[in-house]
């Protein structure tokens, strides 16, 4: 298992660079992760990230884009604006969670 140092602390990451242990995540770490992929977090970003954390806590898996949109009430279009290109993966990365497994 690889490790990487973020903001002076060492974290275990998988072969793609995602944090492997969801329990080490804090909002401070989330802000650092966002910075690393070039995203300045606004309240709108936090709404999505906090939903991901909560939903993962309940469901045990990372919500898909559609689930974030229907359950957190954030339109898909907005998610693409907030996390451009690959919104589902980027949200999961910032939230310190594995990328979603679901198809839709």
């Amino acid at each position: 298992m690889a490790t990487t140092t973020i903001a002076g602390r060492e974290y275990e990451v998988n072969e793609e660079g995602f944090i492997t242990d969801p329990t080490v995540w804090t909002e401070e770490l989330g802000a650092e992760l966002a910075k690393l992929i070039g995203i300045d977090l606004t309240d709108a970003h936090w709404k999505a990230i906090r939903f991901l954390r909560e939903d993962y806590g309940v469901m045990g898996e990372t919500p898909t884009l559609r689930r974030v949109s229907t359950q957190a009430g954030i339109p898909v279009k907005e998610l693409f604006t907030l996390f451009p290109g690959k919104p589902a993966k980027k949200m999961a990365y910032v939230a310190g969670l594995p990328k979603p497994k679901g198809c839709v």
Partner: protein
Amino acid sequence: MTTEAAPFVPSFDDDVASDRKLAIICSKGNLDMAYPGLILANAAVGEGIETHLFFTFWGFDMINKETMGDLKFSFVGNTAMHPPGHTGISMHHMLGGLPGATSMATKMLKKSIADLDVPEVPEFLEILSASGCHMWACRMSADMNKLTEDDLYEGVEGIISATDFIELTAGAQMLFI
């Protein structure tokens, strides 16, 4: 590892202009054949891939406002048919020809899809549109069915000829469904 080393961060390819392009031709109007194209298109746009859907022949029913919410599933001719969740039990496909079989099979399939929290076709088109997926309607199919853009789902960008479609998908990977 020293603290000076740059953190290992996933590559989201933001700095590299991806030239991957996907074009999916949707030619079927059966409920079960509508989903593969929609699901693959959704996966592709979510990966930042430029994606085009081209609706032609029976696939036109997927974007015709009058029919898109009411696609049906028949298992006539489908020897792989089985009751939902029972892959070991076979159902003779000719049973699908009995009166009421299509509406029952459609209801069952819709339920299986909804149970997975996968949207119905019109809502799926909305999601794709919001995700930046391009949608095109086939000129010949429109003419055959005497339909205009007003009859089609709003996210469809235009009614175009086969040649137009081939031109605008230059270099794309193609899927025919």
